[in-house]
Structure formats: structure tokens, C-alpha cells
């Protein structure tokens, strides 16, 4: 089946010739009209539209945005904060970068509508430190919006006031985790908080109720306010509404970002048709479908089971290529859609070396609060690196599994899961390669493209 055509909602103007990040250009394209219209409606109605839209968070977990907003404590009388999670630090993910650099006003408009719907008086955009230009572009765009009275005091005479400030991170991945982010915004080490009791919706920034949403999620809110929740929900598939941006990297002919209706495209269509297939003379070997922590898929393996289609349960029997790219299908086969970062590896890649690369990332980025995560991520890195650069032993695979299995469920934040899933899934899917690594290494040529 041929791949569907792209449906560019969020990326409508990305890479469009002549489209610039300034306010006049945005206004020429109908900018802030949706916000003006939204501000004439009762906030509760806007929240309702978001609930009806079925929007799920694009930051990683796929949590219902409408539900997140309803959990906010509105009785305490404390101010409510909104934080835009622009940390974009999950390896393989690079969509928010383009929104912020090329279409910052879309993010600002989506953010302002979300703030209005939730009676937020102050928002912060937490952008990763390695995007200095992105931070400047956003600051300039916010100033333009302030000058035009779209942000700030008594917006467009509605009596509603809300400001946005940009806050730069400083190179720590864990600031992407929402409670780590909040600590960081409070001027501390980004040590994630223990939940309960520190659910951001109740005890977030300065112990006040706080909404943390991803950049892309908030852009979707603008389109939901525009189209209406019900119409938006018709885009995509039930329970996986709207569009999804896939960030494809690694070994394909045409890596890049592609936006499709959620659940309407399969992995095979994305990689073979949209991205042009493997590099000349090579074959796909493995793909990580949702950012580096998502469990790896091995080409050639099959996924079988029953799934719900409409009201019926039907059997499915999929190869990697057949899996529809939505939260539920990817979850069903034991991995996740996560942040939409699709990392492709072909048959030149040695999986032990690829895992060593991932493990080096997680051991560098653990915040160090929980022993299983701090020590476990370090040991997984040490073992895999030693296998590549020192002596590999047949029993290393079992040792690795043992370490990985002791981390998840025993930590303060989901980093514990994130760092153990690569090791667990690489071993489960490519166990033969790990067990045979010591033997294979004796005769193997040194890697042409080292991964560690």
C-alpha cells in the first residue's frame, strides 16, 4: 500500500520559502486570529474542546492533555503556572527545534490559548541550553507579541493578563523530566521530585499547581481551538487523534521530519517510501521507534495478538514494517511511540556497540539521586564499553540483564525505566549477538564507524 500524503498541521510552514519567524509574517498567515476568537469564549469551553479532541501529549508519555488540565488544583487559591517543556533532549528527537526556530509565534499562540483556558497568569518556556539561537528567537517573538498586546497586561482589552518568559537550561537531559525541570526552574539541581506528593498539577513550581506540556502539544492546542475538538478528533485514528511528527535519523536515504495523521502510516511506509529505504547495498536491521529509551524492534521479528478495531477484537500478525505508528499499536507490541524519534540501524551496525553508545548517554545523564539508576546506568555502560574496548566474555549478557532488571520500578523518576529498556530489549532481541560477541570480535575488523 502506498504511504499516505503528509498532513502538515504543526509543520505547515516549516521550510516554506519566504516564511520568517517574525510577527508580520505570522500575521500575514492569519496569526493570532484563533487566539482572539478563543479569548471571547469561556475558558471552560476551551478546556472542553481539548478534552473532546483526544489530544495526547507529544513529549513522550502520550498522556491525555485534557485530563492533565482537569487534574490541576483550582481550589487552593494559589496561582497556576504553565511551563512549556522545550528541553527536547531525548536522543532521536528534533521536532521542537524547528517549531521554535522557524515558527515561534505558533508556539506562543498555542501557549497563550492554553494559559487562558487554565487561568494561568505566568508561563515559562524552558528551552535547552544548547539552543541559544532558539532562545533569542523566542525572546524576540515574545517581545513582538507583547508590543502587539497579544501577551502581557490586559490582553486586547479582555482584562486577562499573562506573561511568558524564556528560561534556558544548561545541558542536563534530566531537565526534560517535568519535576526535574521544575527544580531546575527554581534554581536548583534538576533532581526529580518524588510522586506522590509532588504531582505538578498540585505541588509544582513554587509548590503551586503547574501544567507542564511539550512544545508540540501546545501547538496542537491552537489547532484544536481553531477547528473545534470534534473536528480535530477526526484527524488521525480513534484514541490517537491529530497528526504526529516523526523525526527519522540514522541509516535511511532521507532522514528528516515528516508529519502524518496519527496511526495512518506504518513503519514500513515511513522508512521505505517516505525516507527512501536503506542506504545503497544495505538492509535494515533494527529500529528504535520513539526516542532512544523506547524498546528496539528487530527487522524480521513478528508481533501477534488480538487488538480492538471498532468494537471487535481481531487478530493481528505484524512484521516491523506493518506496525501502524501510533501510541497504542507501538505500546501493544511492547515498545512505545514516545517522542516520535525514529532511529534506524542497518546491517553494518553491531548491536553491542550501539547499546554501548546508548548506555554511555544514560550513565552520563542520571541525576544520581537513586542508587539503582546511578550505579546501574554506570555499570551497564562499563560492561558494554569493556566488551567493545576490552575483553568481552560470554557471561556478560547475563550480567547486563541482571543489572538492567534491578533498576525499573525502584527509582524516583521514569529515567530508571528509560535507561534499562534499551539494555533489556537489545538483549532480548539480539541476545545471540551479545553471547557471540567475544568470539566474533577475534576475527572482526575494527568498526569503520565507531559507536563508542
Amino acid at each position: 500500500m502506498p504511504a499516505p500524503v503528509q498532513r502538515r498541521l504543526i509543520f505547515a510552514h516549516i521550510d516554506e520559502p519566504g516564511y520568517t519567524p517574525d510577527l508580520p509574517c505570522y500575521l500575514r498567515h492569519g496569526g493570532y486570529a484563533v487566539m482572539k476568537q478563543a479569548f471571547t469564549r469561556p475558558p471552560a469551553e476551551l478546556m472542553d474542546e481539548v478534552k473532546k479532541s483526544g489530544l495526547r501529549g507529544r513529549g513522550g508519555a502520550g498522556f491525555s492533555c485534557g485530563l492533565k488540565w482537569t487534574l490541576v488544583d483550582r481550589k487552593s487559591g494559589k496561582p497556576i503556572y504553565l511551563i512549556v517543556n522545550a528541553d527536547e533532549s531525548e536522543p532521536g528527537t528534533f521536532k521542537d527545534r524547528y517549531i521554535m526556530h522557524q515558527d515561534p509565534h505558533q508556539l506562543i499562540e498555542g501557549t497563550m490559548i492554553s494559559c487562558f483556558a487554565n487561568n494561568v497568569k505566568q508561563a515559562y518556556i524552558y528551552i535547552r541550553g544548547e539552543m541559544p539561537h532558539g532562545a533569542r528567537i523566542l525572546e524576540k517573538a515574545i517581545q513582538e507579541a507583547r508590543d502587539a498586546n497579544f501577551v502581557g497586561q490586559n490582553i486586547l482589552g479582555t482584562n486577562y493578563s499573562c506573561d511568558i518568559f524564556v528560561h534556558r537550561g544548561a545541558g542536563a537531559y534530566i531537565c526534560g523530566e517535568e519535576t526535574g525541570l521544575i527544580e531546575s526552574l527554581e534554581g536548583k539541581r534538576a533532581n526529580p521530585r518524588i510522586k506522590p506528593p509532588y504531582f505538578p498539577a498540585v505541588l509544582g513550581l513554587y509548590q503551586c499547581p503547574t501544567i507542564v506540556n511539550n512544545v508540540e502539544t501546545l501547538c496542537h492546542v491552537k489547532h484544536i481551538a481553531d477547528l473545534g475538538g470534534e473536528t480535530y478528533a477526526k484527524i488521525g485514528t480513534p484514541n490517537n487523534t491529530g497528526t504526529r511528527i516523526f523525526c527519522v535519523s540514522g541509516h535511511v536515504q532521507r532522514p528528516g521530519y515528516y508529519e502524518f495523521e496519527a496511526g495512518k502510516i506504518t513503519m514500513g511506509q515511513l522508512l521505505n517510501e517516505v525516507c527512501g529505504g536503506p542506504l545503497p547495498g544495505r538492509k535494515f536491521k533494527a529500529v528504535i521507534p520513539g526516542g532512544s529509551s523506547a524498546k528496539v524492534m528487530r527487522f524480521g521479528e513478528r508481533y501477534k495478538g488480538k487488538r480492538k478495531v471498532g468494537h471487535e477484537m481481531v487478530d493481528y500478525d505484524w512484521g516491523v514494517e506493518d506496525v501502524p505508528l501510533d501510541f497504542d499499536s507501538l505500546g501493544m507490541i511492547g515498545t512505545m511511540g514516545g517522542s516520535g524519534g525514529v532511529i534506524v540501524m542497518d546491517d553494518t551496525v553491531n548491536m553491542v556497540e550501539a547499546l554501548a553508545n546508548i548506555n554511555a548517554f544514560y550513565s552520563h545523564e542520571s541525576c544520581g539521586q537513586c542508587t539503582p539508576c546511578r550505579e546501574g546506568s554506570l555499570w551497564m555502560k562499563k560492561i558494554t564499553t569493556r566488551m567493545v574496548h576490552g575483553t568481552a566474555r560470554a557471561e556478560d549478557a547475563a550480567l547486563l540483564k541482571n543489572v538492567a532488571d534491578q533498576i525499573p520500578g525502584r527509582t524516583i523518576c521514569a529515567f530508571g525505566e528509560a535507561c534499562s529498556w534499551p539494555t533489556q530489549s537489545f538483549l532480548a532481541k539480539f541476545g545471540d549477538e551479545f553471547a557471540g560477541y567475544a568470539e566474533a570480535k577475534k576475527t572482526a575488523q575494527p568498526a569503520a564507524t565507531p559507536l563508542i
Binding site: E88, S89, E90, P91, G92, T93, F94, D96, R97, R128, G129, E130, M131, P132, H133, F165, H167, R168, G169, A170, G171, A172, Y173, S184, L185, E186, G187, K188, R189, A190, Y206, C247, V248, S249, G250, H251, P255, G256, Y257, S292, G341, I343, M345, V349, A354, N357, I358, A360, F361, H364, E365, C367, T449, P450, L451, I452
Partner: protein, 164 residues
């Protein structure tokens, strides 16, 4: 603390962005580091006083975040992405080649004081890997020829700089 007048201004401005002064800690560290190049003990103490914190509260933050440094680096900062997508497309070779070009290892200052090369984690541009961030500018799809061209540019800019 010896900072440019504009930096003092930006510092006072940014503190007003937050209801709690301590929140301005990361912004202040960025501003001071952009002005002076690194975070000294003097800077830590000055920032602590400015935000009504103990120096340890500043110190623990400086040591937590990879972007803050406690010693000077080369005039140009070359950050090569090390993470998987970039490694798959040649990130390790790019890093090795930069080290050869400037005759120094990662984390060191080159003999002429011109560059420091660091291997960093994912820069969120994985689709155009391997990527390299030189000071504030991102360079994409960096191959051997690009490393050479970028290194030449850095050396040319250095030779044109008036002697101190």
C-alpha cells in the same frame, strides 16, 4: 565582580522575571559565563550574594550542569555530538579529526589557546547528523571536508584577530 555594564543591566532585568530570586540562578550563571568565559569562585560568591543564597547553593548548581565550567577554555568552543544518531553517521570520526586538526584532546585547550573540543550528548538535530555546535552555531552533516573547512575558518579568524 568585574562585568560589562550591559551584563549588570541584564542581570537586574532577569531577576524580575521570577517571584522567587533563586530562580534567576541559571540565567545569572549564563550571563556571567557569557561575559567572563567561565565561573570562578569569586563569581559564585558574587551571584550567591546577589540572589541571597549561600555559595554552596550556587556551587552545587555549577557542578550539576554540563554547560557551566569552572576553568577557562579556548576562545572557540567546539562541541561534537556523541549520541547514537550522530555516531551512526560518523560523529566519532568527526571528533577525532577535530582533535587532529588542533592537536589537542577533548576537554583540553589547544596550545595556541584557540579552541576547546568537547564530546557532548544529543543536540536535538539527529536527522542532520553528525552535528557540531561551534560557539552558538550549529553545523550539520559534518564530514571530513567540512571539518577541514571549519578548522580553516577558525584558524583564519584567529590570524586576523589583532594581537592583544
Amino acid at each position: 565582580m568585574n562585568l560589562k555594564p550591559a551584563t549588570f543591566q541584564q542581570i537586574d532585568e532577569v531577576i524580575t522575571h521570577y517571584p522567587v530570586k533563586r530562580s534567576a540562578l541559571l540565567p545569572l550563571l549564563h550571563l556571567v559565563q557569557e561575559d567572563v568565559g567561565w565561573i570562578s569562585t569569586e563569581a559564585i560568591e558574587w551571584i550567591a550574594q546577589k540572589l541571597e543564597l549561600q555559595p554552596i547553593n550556587v556551587y552545587e548548581v555549577v557542578t550539576f550542569y554540563p554547560m557551566f565550567r569552572q576553568k577557562p577554555i579556548g576562545r572557540r568552543h567546539i562541541k561534537v555530538c556523541r549520541t547514537l544518531s550522530c555516531a551512526l553517521t560518523g560523529g566519532y570520526q568527526v571528533c577525532a579529526q577535530f582533535q587532529q586538526e588542533f592537536g589537542c584532546k577533548t576537554g583540553e585547550v589547544s596550545a595556541d589557546g584557540e579552541v576547546t573540543i568537547d564530546f557532548v550528548e544529543c543536540l536535538a538535530s539527529c536527522g542532520t547528523g553528525p552535528v557540531v555546535l561551534i560557539d552558538d552555531d550549529l553545523h550539520e552533516k559534518v564530514d571530513a571536508a567540512k571539518v577541514k573547512a571549519l578548522s580553516d575558518q577558525i584558524r583564519t579568524a584567529a590570524s586576523r584577530r589583532p594581537a592583544p
